[in-house]
Amino acid sequence: MLVSYRLLKELIDFSYSPNELATKFTHLGLEVEHVEHVEKKFDKVITAKVLDVTSISGTKLFKVNLLVSENETKTVITAATNVKKEDIVPYAMVGAKISDGRVIVEKYFGDILSQGMLCSYNELGLESEFLSNQEKNGILILPEDTPLFKNFESVFPVEDFYLEFSLLPDRADAFSVLGIARWVEIILAKEEGRKANFEKLQPKVQLEENLPNTPFEVKIADTDCAKFYSGRLIKNVKIKNSSYNLRTELYKLGVHPINNIVDITNYVLKMYGQPLHAFDFDKLKGGIFVRRAKTGETIKTLDGVERVLSEKNLLIADSAGAVALAGVMGGEYTEVTNETQNVFLESAYFVPSVIAVSSRSLGLITDASSLFEKGVDPDFTPHASNVASKMILEEAGGILFKDSVDDLRDPKKGVNLRVSKAVSLLGDEIKVEEIKKYFDIEGFDYVFDEAKNTFTVYAPTFRQDISIEEDLIEEIARIKGYNEFKETPIVSNLKSGSIEKIQEFNSFLRNFLLAYGLNEVITSTLVSSAMLSKYKLFNEEKTVKILNPLTEDMAYLRPSLLATLLEVATRNINVNIKDFGIFEIGKVFYRENGFKEKFNLSIFLIGDYILKNPYKKTLPYDFFYLKGILEDLFDELKIPMFFEKQSYPYLHPYRSAVIKVKDELIGFLGEMHPNIFDKAYYCELDIEKLLNNSSLEKKFTQFSIYPSVKRDIAILVDKDIEEIKVRDVIRSASINELKNIVLFDIYEGDPLPKDKKSLAYSLEFVSNERTLTSEEVDNYILKIEKSLIDKVNGILRRQ
């Protein structure tokens, strides 16, 4: 919300600079995000009257004769088409400067001398949002009662500061200039040590007594939806543009001018925070009823949309049906138009939650609804009708009637505050006298019960944020200043903090992978279907879709870490970083009897892990490097797992495997499919399964005090046999002393038969009881050899 500093100063006398004021507001909880200084960017521009306009034949130009002072005329050539006789316009005289820095000079068009320029809003450097469309598109046409021959800046409030407030929904009282001015009064009251006086800020309007009654019944039918309704007839009004005076005020409020009646309702809304609505009285039939809509009832609102309603919506209805969406938007049929002669002016207090539900159920949030849903000042509502009525008489003439009213407002209720609760909640000593002072500063009325040490507080009706004890405690803190309270550490039984298991486990995994030189990444959980489809990860039934995505590329929750990890890889490769290992520990999502989420771990490797150097060979990441990490990890977690050949759409069909624990799938790994990435390696594991199967418990195991004996053996087996089977056979010889089996060579080719390969193992034997003799080890080897012959048709190669 933007508030004009100039307007505030007109309303209340204070001496703070715009920036000082902004700081004070922020400390009170009315955050000023920004102070904008609007400067005058022109010079020597005056208001002048158009005498006549003639088109110059053969061109698209017009010759305009202007009255620029009581007895002086000037001629100006313009291309603008919106200027006509009698218009009052800003005229930049010869020698004038306009906002883009240009200086106006005399200039001939054919044989006509142009002595200056007519200005548009743009050329004056004015904010376009404050102007009507008509004005934006051409020369700025000023109201017909604008004072003539004056410097433009003296008739139009050009130079100003605008405070940009970022107000929160509980500050219902501050969404108007009056509301902000009341907080200036609180600032002043605090400074001067007195009670705030909001009375002086209220517009003073006294309507004539003995007005004729509005010949129309108004009735709040659903009494839980509205607490006050006033409807008033104003006959024989003249709908036209607003006067110069009102236009000037609208400009300061940032309101687009439309016509005098609409402008007045907008003025009251922005200035005093009370939304009003004006109907064309002649289109209303039989009376006004405030009631809930019936399901299926329709109304065409004045934005031209035909809306189907439900019981969530509150209506202003006449005897024929809906005429307005109460508190949200008027109906098109009863709208005030240029032909309107008789106006019916509504000022009402609707119950905030009712308007919130009504406007949100239609997705229609307007200036009016956003004020009503926060809560307008019910004490001001009747008065707002008077204020607007008086302005209508001034701007549009007419005959005023006394309003018809249905008043269901509750009497003011007090809120209790126990001093002890304030002390306890704030954790600081605070005296009764001090509390009284703060309540005075905010203009609250109160009664203090000495015996009970309790206040009963009556906040002004515009303070709809005060409804419970804690609200009052917040006010004490607000006025005293949040930073004036002491800091006291928590006093409690000593206890240590703990971290939930999954987080501890994730930290373990991170540190484990860090030791392998991998880099942790954190990627988006929001992905596009295109991105998932690219890797065949998209599954209409299982992928979690966001119903209201911000953009299509963030419309789904990722079912796997693959896509976003590959995106990170691509990003880095594109900036010529080509050797790296990255991993992510993050959530994936899927649908399976509802929405599910779980943590996965993914690793991606590409390029070399030992880079080009003068000492050794470079060493590239490969399938077995990745597998080695996983084997180490499972070993550390004491999880017995195995790998089985398995293909995945995004992996190399002959270089990928599934990882299983017993019969449970726990993850997979493989070389990326060469169509996606060349020589890159990926794995993804289910962290919860990992955690559930793991044991990080450590316990000392006795090791032998005797030296071990190592023997290397080479075994000739069929080429197609999986190596794991050979190892299993060696293990199956059940030799307790065999502590370690290390495969150190695989050989195929000459002089071996074509269908054979040789596997070389280093076997380590150790006994807990004695040093093993060479004969004993020979016997073990024989035993192993027998198993190999029997089970895999293996032959021990002897040199």
Partner: protein, 338 residues
């Protein structure tokens, strides 16, 4: 051959210029060998008169000792200089670069999260995370934000289904924990949150938050201030000051926006803090009595405070990271800096 002083002189003359072990060996044989000079002298003893034999014998013994020890020490000298010669041939250039394996890194957000955790654990807080997919009840309803409440506009929400959404804040963990545990409660919850905000340098539709909640008898605003003040000092340095300004979050009352003194200018005002001297970190306040009632805690018996700060915000302030997008881009040149 006469025994004379010249033998010794000659020997020292010869051994002085010895360069290698083989030359030394020759000299050793020449003097100490079976047919060497010393042996020849011994042979002469028998030709000498009785009374001179003893004196002559002692002289030869003496000479032999001198020669032996001299050869011994020369040998040692030669050997050591030879060894040095061999080692010097193995000389390396110690200024050459070392051999590097790829070194890993932990994401800066994780680092910040770990640091936040460890500070709060040291203050006795338990650490939770909670689900990203939340129920409307936990994310809004139980937090005193009923449907259609204007405060919902402050957090534009992603929905997955009717009443099922991506959490817009970690605050639902307040409800989950209070439903599970009885006071005294002292916890933080850290996790990813989502809002329908367009991505720019300071907004991201996904971000991380740390939520804090303390509920016990007599927990006060003064406790909240002390806790966040202590946390800020540990996180950003001993000189950090904390500022509270009134604000509105429906689940706390009184509610507060919390800022820390600008880490760049120390509070004097600079472009980073937009000349305010302070950097906004997040919301905080005293748990609203309605929230306590919603989880069956009597607000007249127990009081609590809560806060929610942005992890990305903490990281940006602590490490001077100018743009929130860096966190999710994962450029290795970024990752490896932390």
């Amino acid at each position: 051959m006469e025994f004379n002083e010249d033998i010794e002189k000659q020997f020292f003359e010869k051994i002085k210029n010895i360069k290698d072990l083989s030359e030394l060996k020759k000299i050793e044989i020449e003097y100490l060998g079976k047919k060497g000079i010393v042996q020849e002298l011994y042979k002469k003893i028998k030709d000498l008169p009785e009374e001179k034999r003893k004196e002559f014998g002692e002289k030869v013994n003496n000479l032999r000792n001198i020669i032996e020890s001299s050869i011994e020490s020369t040998k040692a000298q030669l050997e050591s200089s030879l060894a040095d010669l061999k080692l010097s041939s193995e000389k390396i250039d110690v200024t050459l670069p070392g051999l590097h394996f790829q070194r890993g890194s932990i994401h800066v957000l994780t680092k910040v999260i770990e640091e936040v955790k460890s500070i709060f654990v040291s203050m006795g807080f338990d650490v939770f995370s909670g689900p990203d997919i939340e129920d409307d009840y936990y994310n809004f309803e139980a937090l005193n934000i009923p449907e259609h409440h204007p405060a919902r506009d402050m957090q534009d929400t992603f929905y997955l289904a009717q009443k099922i959404l991506l959490r817009t804040q970690t605050s639902p963990m307040q409800i989950r924990i209070m439903k599970k545990l009885k006071p005294p409660i002292r916890m933080i919850a850290i996790g990813r949150c989502y809002r329908r905000d367009a991505l720019d340098s300071s907004h991201s539709p996904q971000f991380h938050q740390v939520e804090g909640l303390v509920v016990d008898k007599g927990i006060s605003f003064a406790n909240l201030k002390a806790t966040l003040s202590e946390f800020s000092k540990k996180m950003f340095g001993e000189n950090t000051r904390i500022r509270f300004t009134p604000s509105y979050f429906p689940f706390v009352e009184p509610g507060s926006e919390t800022s820390i003194s600008c880490v760049i200018c120390g509070g004097k005002g600079c472009p980073v803090c937009k000349y305010t001297g302070f950097l906004e970190m997040g919301g905080s306040g005293m748990v609203h009595p309605n929230v306590l009632r919603n989880v069956g805690i009597d607000p007249d018996e127990f009081q609590g405070f809560a806060f929610g700060w942005g992890i990305e915000r903490i990281a940006m302030v602590k490490y001077g990271i100018p743009d929130i997008r860096y966190f999710y881009q994962n450029d290795l040149r970024f990752l490896k800096q932390f």
